[in-house]
């Protein structure tokens, strides 16, 4: 026992080996798709008319607008963003309960960019063994030039990454011209600088450290998965005892019978590969030949055979690596596989006819169905809300300091602040009126008529006055209900807002 265990330890470098297979191919496709969406989206144009930006996806912070293709979100419609965030949360619950940390393994930006950086590293410095040699080699011209080349490519990717981000917040072609001409706002350069630095450092150097030490999700997911969740795991009951087998196979059926346990299991899994492996010592071995392929390809530097670990991001590369080996030694694939922890046979060997639960039954469970329904309900609600929201709108706020004003002739006047909202891409004129059944009179501050011009995609505040003559009942009583109408003079659309008119009695409160 060490009397003084180290408080701090240097990070063990990880050199993942290249691997190919179904999951690696899938990850390449997802990598290209997600990076493509990220880098290219700001450059998609979308014609909204002369008064509005023509960028398909734009967060216009200065004017408080979010444009997403044909959808335009105003600040008062922030519930759409809240709804999308809730859907993202529920979606994460859904995928995690069905497929474990599938977000971490395939689509998390940290994973995607690290994967890209690994590809660059492998392209410049070579595969695992070459990189280990280079790591251990003394610094010389070759090592320095390889390292510098790699860092330069990383930095280029990092700059593009930070650069792409700012294009979501301004007209992309204009901003690019400004950036190149050093005329862009300081905040654009600062944002690019920060995101370049984080991409370079997190993707190039900290890598798995981000997942292990910085990200809260590995801790949260422990509470989200259950024994029925499909996750990347090692079929210990099939692989153990591991070891290098005797090259010669015991292929005869009688021999197989005499071995008992293994035979029955193997037969259940795949009749063509029923023969067990025998160690040099004569012990019957499991399917794991302890070749370390799964460990060598792991970007997190762990051994999946040790069971579920916080570090595992379920990138599934060990599945590809192991399947490759299983094919070579003539054993069925899936020693390391997507599996549910509950799908362990009750006894080893597995009882006659034992089969793991089908994958779709792990995905389609009451829990995932509830998540899906909740997720879909919010989605449907948002879509409905999107289609029923009005193009023009009015809100009215009575001025309460004071609640009313007495005029020279004894009339009672109330003031209101109207907010007229025009979501159309061209200016609109709104006619303001009271409902037809009232005797109260309306006037606009600073206007001779009852028409307010509202610019394109804008909100205008207009002070209005409503007056009751001394003999009107509304002048005397505490309050009278009031309805204000606005009419878009171009389209004839109408909208209304309800408020109250305060009379003299309201002073007695």
């Amino acid at each position: 026992m060490n009397d003084n265990p180290p408080l701090f330890a240097p990070t063990e470098p990880i050199f993942p080996r290249r691997v190919s297979g179904f999951y690696r191919t899938l990850k390449w496709w997802i990598l290209f798709a997600t990076l493509g969406i990220y880098y290219l989206t700001p450059w998609i144009r979308w014609d909204r008319g002369p008064n509005l930006p023509d960028q398909a996806v734009l967060v216009d912070l200065a004017n408080r607008r979010f444009y997403f293709f044909w959808i335009e979100i105003w600040p008062h419609e922030f519930y759409f963003v809240a709804g999308l965030l809730i859907m993202a949360g529920l979606g994460l619950f859904l995928f995690t309960s069905a497929l474990g940390r599938v977000w971490c393994g395939y689509t998390c930006p940290q994973t995607v960019w690290t994967d890209l950086f690994f590809a660059v590293e492998r392209w410049i410095e070579g595969d695992r063994n070459a990189r280990i040699r280079l790591w251990n080699a003394p610094w010389d011209t070759r090592k320095a030039s390889l390292r510098l080349t790699k860092w330069a490519v990383w930095l280029l990717i990092a700059i593009c990454t930070g650069g792409a981000w700012v294009f979501y917040f301004a007209d992309a072609p204009t901003l690019l011209r400004q950036l190149v001409a050093f005329e862009a706002p300081f905040v654009a350069y600062a944002t690019i600088g920060v995101l370049t630095a984080t991409t370079f450092i997190l993707g190039g150097f900290l890598r798995e450290q981000v997942c292990i030490y910085m990200c809260p999700w590995p801790r949260i997911q422990a509470a989200m998965v259950d024994p029925g969740t499909l996750t990347v795991g090692y079929r210990e009951w099939r692989g153990e005892p591991r070891g290098k087998g005797n090259a010669k196979r015991a292929a005869v059926a009688e021999d197989v019978d005499s071995q008992g346990a293994r035979v029955r299991y193997g037969a259940a899994l795949d009749k063509d590969h029923a023969a067990p492996r025998i160690s040099r010592e004569g012990e019957t071995l499991g399917d794991c030949i302890d070749c370390m392929a799964c460990v060598n390809v792991c970007p997190m530097g762990i051994d999946i055979r040790e069971g579920q670990q916080m570090e595992c991001i379920t990138c599934a590369l060990c599945i590809d690596a192991c399947d490759d080996v299983m094919a070579k030694i003539g054993r069925p694939r899936g020693l390391i596989d997507y599996l549910a922890l509950e799908d362990t046979p009750p006894t080893v060997p597995a009882p006659e006819g034992w089969q793991p639960t089908a994958a779709w039954r792990h995905v389609l469970r009451p829990r995932t169905i509830v998540y899906t329904l909740a997720w879909a309900a919010i989605g449907v609600a948002l879509v409905v809300a999107l289609f029923v929201r009005p193009e023009i709108d009015v809100t009215v706020a009575p001025v309460r300091n004071p609640t009313f004003v007495t005029l020279s002739d004894g009339s009672i006047r109330n003031a209101y602040d109207l907010r007229l909202r025009n979501k159309h891409a061209e200016p609109r004129a709104f006619h303001v009126a009271l409902s037809a059944d009232t005797v109260l009179r309306i006037a606009l501050e600073g206007e001779d008529d009852l028409v307010v011009d509202v610019p394109a995609s804008a909100t205008v505040r207009q002070r209005i006055y409503v007056t009751a003559r001394p003999q009107d009942p509304a002048a005397a009583v505490d309050h009278t209900d009031l309805r204000l109408w606005i009419e878009d003079l171009t389209s004839g659309e109408r909208a209304h807002a309800d408020t109250i008119f305060n009379g003299r009695e309201s002073n007695d409160d």
């Binding site: 026992m1 701090f8 330890a9």
Partner: protein, 295 residues
């Protein structure tokens, strides 16, 4: 908590020796980059303390070599805004007030600037909503009744020079004399007549008696019909607006010992642009009167 460290058999890692009801803690070493990050924050902290205000002393904090302060930042912001508004401010100070409302952007600037001026300088007496305080004699600025005139020019003059103050020679000045030498019945009769002018409840016989007295004593300022005279700030007694109350007692009290409002001059303190801004704001509160052409 026991103090015995041991090797955890599952992980092969040493424990810290801390034991909470059988739950032990592994002594997993932190990554070294974490340590360097920690040192980095200390260095950052030292640099920050040197550059920025940091250590609290008895009366103030250490200044920091950059000389930064939040007050200085605000001052710089205000200067920046004033600079960007300099052109508008200059136009506002010199524009003919009669045509201010024809210049939309300048009028909007004046009204919104005037709102701040009002809240800072006027709301203490006239209230944040400009409704005045009737009990204290601060007039309501929202209605259509003006003691000294309600055109933009009139309002600006009142703001610039004030009312009944000693500081400004051009201040609007006139005082109602105390009619304490009248008989009590005469006071009652005049008050009744005044109430009759705006159809308030009154004794017709007493009011008729007061009508003669009113013509003799009051009409020189308030007019024969009681509609007042803005030249001398004499209020309209025939309308529904009463600064100091419309009851018989309130009117009698004002006759015997009149109270007069005082307003300080703001011209020098605010400067012409702000005077005009706050005037435009008050003018746009609902009671502003149009300039009569040729006036």
């Amino acid at each position: 908590m026991a103090d015995k460290t041991r090797i955890d058999p599952t992980t092969g890692v040493e424990t810290t020796g801390h034991d909470w009801d059988g739950i032990e803690e592994l002594n997993t070493p932190l990554p070294r980059w974490w340590l360097w990050t920690f040192y980095g924050t200390i260095v950052w902290g030292v640099i920050y303390v040197i550059l920025f205000p940091a250590w609290p002393l008895v009366t103030q904090a250490t200044g920091g070599v950059l000389g930064w302060s939040s007050r200085g930042e605000v001052t710089a912001d205000i200067e920046r805004v004033n600079l960007s508004n300099a052109e508008l401010t200059e136009s506002l100070a010199t524009v003919d007030l009669a045509v201010l409302d024809e210049n939309g952007p300048l009028h909007d600037f004046a009204v919104s600037a005037g709102e701040s001026v009002f809240r800072n300088n006027c709301s203490q007496c006239h209230g944040a909503g400009a409704a005045g305080v009737a009990a204290s004699g601060y007039p309501n600025l929202l209605d259509d009744d003006w003691l000294w005139g309600g055109t933009l020019e009139d309002i600006a003059f009142t703001v610039r020079h004030g009312i009944r103050n000693e500081e400004d020679g051009e201040a609007r000045f006139s005082e109602m004399p105390a009619f304490d030498w009248l008989e009590e019945e005469q006071i009652t009769a005049i008050a009744a007549h005044v109430r009759s002018l705006s159809d308030l409840e009154h004794d017709a016989a007493v009011a008729a008696e007061g009508a003669t007295l009113f013509v003799e004593n009051c009409s020189s300022c308030h007019g024969d019909d009681g509609r007042g005279d803005r030249e001398v700030g004499a209020p309209n007694l025939a309308d529904a607006i009463w600064l100091r109350g419309s009851s018989q007692e309130a009117i009698e009290a004002q006759l015997i010992a009149p109270r007069h409002g005082v307003m300080p001059p703001w011209g020098e303190r605010l400067g012409e642009a702000q005077v005009r801004a706050v005037s435009a704001y008050v003018h746009a509160l609902g009671g502003g009167e149009e300039q009569v052409s040729g006036d």
